[in-house]
């Protein structure tokens, strides 16, 4: 797999604050890598380290295979950054903000005007280009910042909370555009704490906390890794009757409280299992197949909560063996990147 960004054991401190702590992750080329984490997880510092805007105290950063500290010129000119605050010059017009960037990033002067119009049009900001940015709404500023990041046709785009301050329609439009960018072969590294916007967008996920990566990998592979066993929830008017499921073919185990969480070899078993129960006179009130989401992964990584719900996971609190017998194990909440 081609990697555009690779960080290995990167640590950085700001005074007493440990911003990055042995952070390791990679961003594959032409994919969207989402850095997920709460405020203070180190996402912004990571972006800064990738372009060489800060030089980490320890560890290795490679962007396009180059060390951004000594090779800053070769790295930054290939990066487009949108920071959490749009970082625009309020006293300049939208056009002049874009022109400044185009000049700094050495866009060919012969095509600069055409690029400005093209990028502004892409984000629907072309009609406001001659107005002073100080009068822009938050959404317009974000769209101008996004336009600016694309002016010099960068290979790597680094977006720090790119939808902050946008209304839902604009947010969705921005996320669609981000997807388009990877289709054009660009690599995107995006920071967010909004699970909803990362869901469905992330090809590669890095869940961060306190400057460390808790979990890293391709979204689908991570789901399979953390939830290897398909599950569904089922409820009945007499919950005890659901215990019969453990003897049925394809059922690997159940975890029952009021309703039952059923572990099966694949979700295609559900209709037959439901039919079997119904034939036995069990009155079923609800059946809900469980597709793990990024949200599940996020909370599982950060708290271990999701994993404790999964009796068949090697790190789970209680394992059920096929046939229903329980095996108690030691609980753990730590989920490492290689677990």
């Amino acid at each position: 797999m081609d990697l555009t960004v690779h960080l290995d054991a990167v640590s950085h401190r700001f005074g007493e604050v440990q911003a990055l702590d042995e952070l390791c992750f990679s961003a594959p080329t032409a994919k969207i890598t989402v850095l997920l984490g709460p405020n203070g997880a180190g996402k912004t510092t990571t972006i800064r380290a990738i372009t060489g805007a800060i030089a980490p105290l320890h560890g290795t950063v490679r962007t396009f295979g180059l060390d951004p500290a000594p090779e800053s010129n070769n790295v930054r000119i290939r990066c487009g950054v949108v920071s959490a605050k749009p970082a625009l010059y309020d006293r300049l017009s939208g056009h002049d903000n874009l022109l400044y960037s185009a000049q700094l990033y050495e866009v060919d002067p012969d095509v600069t005007e055409a690029r400005i119009i093209e990028c502004a049009t892409r984000f629907g900001i072309q009609d406001a280009l001659e107005h002073q940015v100080g009068g822009y709404s938050t959404g317009m500023k974000t769209r101008l910042a996004l336009s600016r990041s694309l002016l010099h046709d960068p290979d790597l785009l680094l977006f720090d909370e790119p939808t902050s301050g946008l209304d839902p329609e604009s947010s969705q439009a921005v996320l669609d555009l981000i997807r388009e960018l990877t289709n054009e072969g660009k690599t995107v590294v995006m920071c967010t704490h909004l699970l909803s916007e990362a869901e469905g967008l992330a090809d590669h996920v890095v869940i961060m906390e306190s400057g460390r990566s808790l979990v890293e990998g391709e979204s689908e592979a991570l789901m399979k890794k953390f939830w290897p066993t398909p599950t569904f929830r089922i409820a009945a008017t007499v919950p005890d009757q659901l215990d019969r499921l453990v003897h049925l073919p394809g059922v690997l185990g159940i975890n029952r409280l009021e309703d039952a969480q059923v572990f099966v070899d694949h979700l295609g078993r559900i209709p037959a299992l439901v039919a079997h129960l119904a034939a036995d006179g069990v009155q079923i009130t609800r059946v809900e197949p469980h597709e793990p989401t990024l949200e599940d992964l996020y909370f599982a990584a950060r708290t271990g909560a999701g994993l404790l719900d999964n009796p068949l996971h090697p790190h789970s609190a209680t394992q059920f063996q096929p046939g229903g017998s329980e095996v108690a194990t030691h609980p753990t909440t730590t989920v490492g990147a290689n677990s």
Binding site: F14, R48, T51, I54, S83, A87, Y89, R91, Y105
Partner: protein
């Protein structure tokens, strides 16, 4: 260093300054007051109103001027000689104070302002090097001050020649010493002041703090520049040339070290010392 990129940084700062009426209107007023209004009032009082007592008092003070300076004074009557002395010697240091004040005001906020507005993040991720940013900011701070001086100098020359010229036998201004001061002595003093001000602007936490600190630090430099420029005028061309050369040397040393104060961490506001 990529000079083109440095100039782009400077140009963009200047564009913003032009948009900032709240900044340049007071500065233009300051220049007008020092280069036009105050000299016009004084010189007209002496040459047109002919206040005998006042002219005689000022004439007496001219005797304290160095011999070399006294020898330069032209004019056949006391009013003309007094007006000439005021025009050439008294207002000369104003040409130093105005650009230093204006450039200090611009320079004080230039780097800390980027940080406060959040635009430091854009610059920190950009391909511009710290040196290009520093010298771009330096140029953007120096140009408004020096531009005001040149414009003020032109206006002042016109005023002096129109008001005092008839009393001393025609247009006489600028004198060689004034040319030397404007073209050779003032620029290095501006550079010295700005090297200090930009260093402060990079290190302090807010624009307000930068303005306070810059005012405090630049005051002694302004006083030195004032006295040295006066000395340059009194002492003749050679003295002026020497003062300028020494100032240029100090400026070069100060600037060559000053660019280190601009770091990407400071633009981002994450440097430990910020």
């Amino acid at each position: 260093m990529n000079w083109r990129r440095m100039w782009i940084v400077a140009q963009t700062d200047l564009k913003q300054l032009i948009q900032a009426r709240d900044y340049w209107i007071p500065m233009a007023a300051l220049g007008a007051m020092f280069f036009l209004i105050v000299p016009a009032i004084l010189l007209l009082t002496i040459t047109q109103i002919g206040d005998v007592e006042m002219v005689s008092q000022i004439s007496k003070t001219l005797k304290v001027l160095p011999q070399a300076a006294q020898a330069q004074i032209q004019g056949s009557d006391p009013a003309g000689r007094t007006a000439y002395a005021l025009a050439v010697f008294l207002f000369a240091p104003v040409a130093v104070v105005v650009p230093l004040t204006i450039s200090t005001a611009v320079g004080a906020s230039t780097i800390v302002g980027e940080r406060e507005r959040g635009t430091g993040e854009f610059l920190a991720h950009s391909p511009a090097t710290a040196r290009e940013i520093y010298f771009g900011k330096l140029a953007a701070s120096l140009i408004p001050g020096y531009f005001t001086t040149i414009v003020g100098f032109g206006a002042y020359s016109l005023l002096v020649n129109l008001v005092v010229g008839p009393s001393v036998g025609g247009w006489f201004f600028p004198t060689p010493n004034w040319w030397l001061m404007v073209l050779w002595v003032i620029p290095p003093f501006l550079a010295i002041t700005l090297s200090i001000v930009l260093r402060l602007s990079a290190k302090v936490k807010s624009t307000a703090a930068a303005s306070q600190a810059s005012g405090l630090v630049s005051l002694p430099v302004i006083m030195i520049a004032y006295s040295q420029s006066t000395g340059a005028l009194f002492g003749g061309l050679i003295v002026g040339a020497i003062i300028g050369a020494v100032a240029w040397t100090i400026a070069a040393l100060s600037l060559s070290r000053g660019f280190r104060s601009v770091t990407r961490a400071r633009l981002l506001g994450v440097a430990n010392e910020v």
